[in-house]
Amino acid sequence: MNGFVTTQRFARVLDLPLSLAQTELRAGKAFVVTRIPLALHQRLEMRSLTIMVNAILTPGVVPAFLNTAMSLCSAGLYRSTILTSPLAYAAFTQMTATTNPFSPCVIETPGTYTLIVSNNTDNTDLSLTVTGSIKIYY
């Protein structure tokens, strides 16, 4: 977005905080946190997305990955239902994983975008939290 943010412009900038409170996500499960329909001339910027594992609820198992590339669990912004196809994502490899806030995910093409969080293992239940920030310019 170029130019000055005038009062009138500011009124058409919507901040959407993303917050999934501590949630138990069973092995192999995924669910939609939010679904954002974007119309023509609207602009979505996902500034950040963070996933945090609070606890591993199935101790003592070696995780069997369903989607190796997405690590233990992940949260991402999607245009399709294919979990390995995120436009931006945070995949858990350490205690917390976050998207690069210096490189926001920008979308200006109309469509419905979904924020999906998934447990990418076949045998490990997790307790996790997702937070993030989205701006919509309209």
Binding site: L40, A69, T84, T98, V106, G111, T112
Partner: protein
């Protein structure tokens, strides 16, 4: 030239070159002539002096003009005189008017006659004006590519490089030749001394200017510097702005303005220049100042350009982005990929029209070419779940091929051409083949061992192909099927066609019935569809699907078999094997919505030659999937630029700047085309991969370095576009360029190069599966229509402004472009690769 100006530097400059009594001199450069044989006429002498005064004003205007150029280039406010009126800045010169052109003035003496004032003093003043101007013009010409004032004597044969200025004896005074004044020495000398003094003032200004031109580093507030190596530009011209001047060091810095980096430091006492780049592993030894000095590396040169910074394009910002390495995980492209899969690199699965596919759980292998060192890799595959399975006619097992991937039934097969196909005998009395008699209407299967047959009876029969056979597998359940077919040659008004579903070990089930012939009333070659036929697939195993041409003349041609089910979603559990290592994908896909399947491998060993990637699709048999592209990327860590913590958004900033300049160029193109703007949409609002290319061509009209195009044809050089050599060397415009060197296409050099291959240079490249989420250049209003499962463009060209946004899977399928790797940033923040 510098020496001749030194003495003029001591002159105390006045801030104004006054108009005084100047009158406009003839544009021809001549002065009002004096006829010595005629009676003395003071007005003529007065007019000549006034014309000389006007020539001083021209020189003054030239000084101002050059000062402005110096200011534009170096951002340095050079001293310049105030003029009391407009004057041209191009000084005319006529050699016969000039005297010694040696900076001295032969003033009149008490012994002089009036004519001496004209033939000596005026001529010398004329020559001195010219000398002052020419010195300035030469300094300007040797400094600037596009000097602001023209030279008088470009060959240097008329006006010498005179070194003394002080001989131009002058004194400021208001004096004029006038008939009412006494006719004595001072009547002529005083006005001439005044003119000489004006010349001295101008010489002083020229000396100041020449100083600034001679060593801009002493004065400049801005430098424009380019880094070169062996004839190729390593860093395009950058603006270095003066950030500090402590009397000893003048520090110029450019973006990214990292602490203590990207600087040029001019040491005033030492007269040296030092370049400090963003890396700290190589130190530049300070060099004696010059416009071109040696750089850090062997063969490298740092050139200070005397040019006004031009409008920067996306490719420039690509270079700037690459000057800073961010911190974090790095994903980089390898040269191992498949942009299409319907080729010999694919083994297994079922080849569909346009791409390889797995219709049911099965194995498919992509044999990629290249070599990889040990490391971590990501394999990305552009997949498209699709309930519509299109099998090209040529994919039959009956060795029957045809135009555009179809299968053309053989007709009028002569004896000697029988192969392993089913044939039908038509007309006549029949034939004898392999010892057996076949009457009209009989069918036989040829063998390669017996290619000939013999006619039986008096009336000859004709032989044509009877059937082609397909084998494929589909998920269990209801399907419908249609044929795309045509008549290629001959005349017919119908085809009788039969298709059967033959499951393994089961009896054939008729699917396409030949009881009702297919009418043919179209033009030969036009593709038409059979009515929908329904069938139930009993299991996911392979089945045969023979197509029989049972009746009708002409030449039957099957372009495609099209199977379709109503399944909307499917699950894909797939194990990817990458030369011994395995990784998993288990995802859900939606019908006709493309996505990227991604496998990631850690601590993978090296491989040389063929790099196989195998997908073992284990579950579930519901919705077939096409594999359109495959790409291997390397995973690693960036080696961050020192002290760049505060600059993590630099690359994003460069993307934004590139977007702005592209939009600006696009709007210029729209304005230039006026009402004749091409449209790239088809059938209203539909978009195609070809439309993406055409639209990029339009973007390139005012942004010639926006798109990278590989492997330019040897006659494909376009003026204004930049090219980089891929192979050892190419010759263009009479110059040999080595690998990595770049050149621009120029009108006069034509479109042909020779000797190797080049690619077109650009800040964007065609997207591939691994580029998901990267900034892509997209026409505003382009979108994936969820109802039609097609990409559409809401706007036509004038409003389809380039917009940079995250790359989505359908953008990859439709061939949109993403930013080059120099713009990429870590996907995640603050992480390292798992060990």
């Amino acid at each position: 030239m510098p020496n001749q100006l030194e003495s003029a530097l001591v002159i105390a400059l006045r801030d104004t070159i006054k108009w005084e009594s100047a009158v406009v001199a003839p544009e021809s450069g001549t002065l009002t002539p004096v006829a010595p044989a005629l009676p003395f006429d003071a007005v003529t002498y007065q007019e000549r002096d006034r014309q000389l005064a006007y020539r001083d004003l021209i020189v003054g205007a030239a000084v101002v003009e050059v000062s402005i150029q110096v200011g534009d280039v170096w951002n340095y406010a050079v001293l310049k005189p105030t003029l009391q009126g407009p004057a041209p800045f191009s000084l005319p010169f006529v050699g016969t008017e000039a005297g010694t052109v040696s900076s001295q003035i032969r003033h009149v003496l008490n012994t002089s006659i009036p004519w001496d004032a004209a033939r000596y003093a005026d001529a010398d003043l004329y020559g001195r004006d010219s000398l002052v101007y020419e010195v300035l013009a030469r300094a300007c010409a040797t400094t600037f590519v596009d000097p602001s004032i023209p030279q008088i004597d470009t060959t240097g044969t008329v006006i010498p490089s005179t070194s003394i200025w002080s001989l131009g004896q002058g004194a400021p005074m208001q004096a004029d030749i006038n008939a009412v004044l006494p006719l004595n020495r001072d009547l002529f000398k005083n006005p001439d001394r005044n003119l000489a003094e004006r010349d001295n003032q101008l010489a002083g200004y020229v000396a100041q200017l020449a100083q600034a031109l001679q060593n801009p580093f002493e004065h400049a507030l801005r430098l424009y510097v380019q880094i070169e190596a062996f004839g190729t530009v390593q860093r395009e011209p950058d603006v270095y702005a003066l950030t500090s001047d402590n009397g000893t060091n003048r520090v110029f810095q450019n973006d990214p303005a990292l602490p203590g980096a990207n600087q040029i430091i001019y040491n005033i006492p030492g007269h040296t220049l030092q370049w400090i780049q963003e890396r700290v592993d190589e130190v530049h030894v300070p060099q004696i100042y010059a416009m071109v000095i040696p750089g850090v590396e062997f063969g490298q040169a740092i050139e200070t350009l005397a040019e006004v910074p031009e409008r920067k394009d996306a490719q420039y910002w690509r270079g700037k982005a690459g000057q800073l390495q961010p911190s974090g995980l790095k994903v980089s492209d390898t040269d191992i990929y498949l942009t299409t899969t319907n080729n010999a690199a694919t083994q297994g699965g079922y080849m569909q029209y346009g791409s390889a596919s797995l219709t049911v759980p099965d194995l498919i292998t992509f044999n990629l070419s290249g070599s990889l060192p040990p490391g971590d890799y990501r394999v990305s595959v552009l997949g498209k779940p699709n309930s519509r399975v299109e099998i090209a006619g040529a994919q039959n097992l009956t060795d029957t091929s045809g135009t555009l991937g179809g299968a053309t039934f053989d007709i009028n097969v002569p004896s000697g051409s029988i192969s392993t196909k089913p044939y039908l005998v038509e007309h006549g009395d029949g034939i004898v083949y392999s010892g057996s008699l076949y009457l009209p209407g009989d069918v036989f299967v040829g063998t390669s061992a017996v290619p000939t047959y013999a006619q039986y009876g008096a009336v000859p029969s004709t032989i044509r192909q009877y059937a082609i056979n397909f084998v494929l597998a589909l998920p269990q359940g209801p399907w419908n099927v249609r044929l795309e077919y045509t008549n290629l040659t001959g005349v017919t008004n119908y085809f009788s066609v039969k298709g059967e579903y033959v499951a393994s070990g089961a009896i054939a089930v008729p699917v396409i019935q030949d009881i009702a012939p297919l009418p043919w009333n179209s033009t030969n070659g036009n593709i038409v569809l059979t009515p929908i036929a329904y069938m139930d697939v009993t299991d996911a195993g392979a089945f045969a699907f023979p197509i029989y041409w049972t009746g009708g003349d002409g030449q039957f041609h099957v372009r495609k078999l099209v199977f379709e089910s109503a399944v909307a979603e499917g699950r894909y559990a797939m194990t990817g094997t990458f030369a011994g290592s395995i990784a998993q994908v288990d995802v859900d896909g939606e019908n006709q919505v493309p996505g990227v399947l991604r496998w990631q491998y850690y601590s993978y060993g090296s491989v040389v030659g063929t790099v196989p990637f195998t997908i073992n699709y284990t579950a579930e048999a519901a919705l077939p999937i096409q594999f359109q592209q495959v790409q291997i990327q390397a995973l690693g860590d960036y080696n961050p630029t020192p002290l760049s913590q505060g600059f993590q958004a630099w690359r994003k900033e460069c993307v934004d700047r590139a977007e702005r300049v592209i939009v600006e160029g696009y709007q210029m193109a729209v304005a230039a085309y006026g009402t004749d703007i091409p449209s790239f949409r088809t059938d209203g609002s539909f978009w195609t991969p070809d439309a993406s290319e055409d639209w990029m061509s339009f973007v390139e009209v005012y942004n010639p370095r926006v798109r990278e195009v590989p492997a330019i044809a040897t006659d494909g050089i376009t003026p204004g576009f930049q090219y980089e050599v891929d192979t050892p060397s190419v010759v263009y415009n009479g110059t040999t360029f080595l690998a990595g060197q770049k050149f621009y296409g120029v009108e006069s050099a034509g479109t042909v190069y020779s000797g190797g291959t080049v690619h077109q240079v650009g800040a964007f490249r065609k997207s591939q599966p691994g580029h998901l989420g990267l900034p892509a250049l997209v026409p505003l209003g382009l979108y994936f229509d969820d109802a039609d499962k097609m990409v559409k463009a809401y706007y036509d060209t004038p409003l389809a402004t380039p917009t940079i946004m995250s790359c989505q899977p359908w953008m990859i399928e439709y061939g949109l472009y993403i930013v080059q790797e120099e713009f990429w940033m870590p996907e995640t923040f603050g992480l390292t690769l798992p060990s």
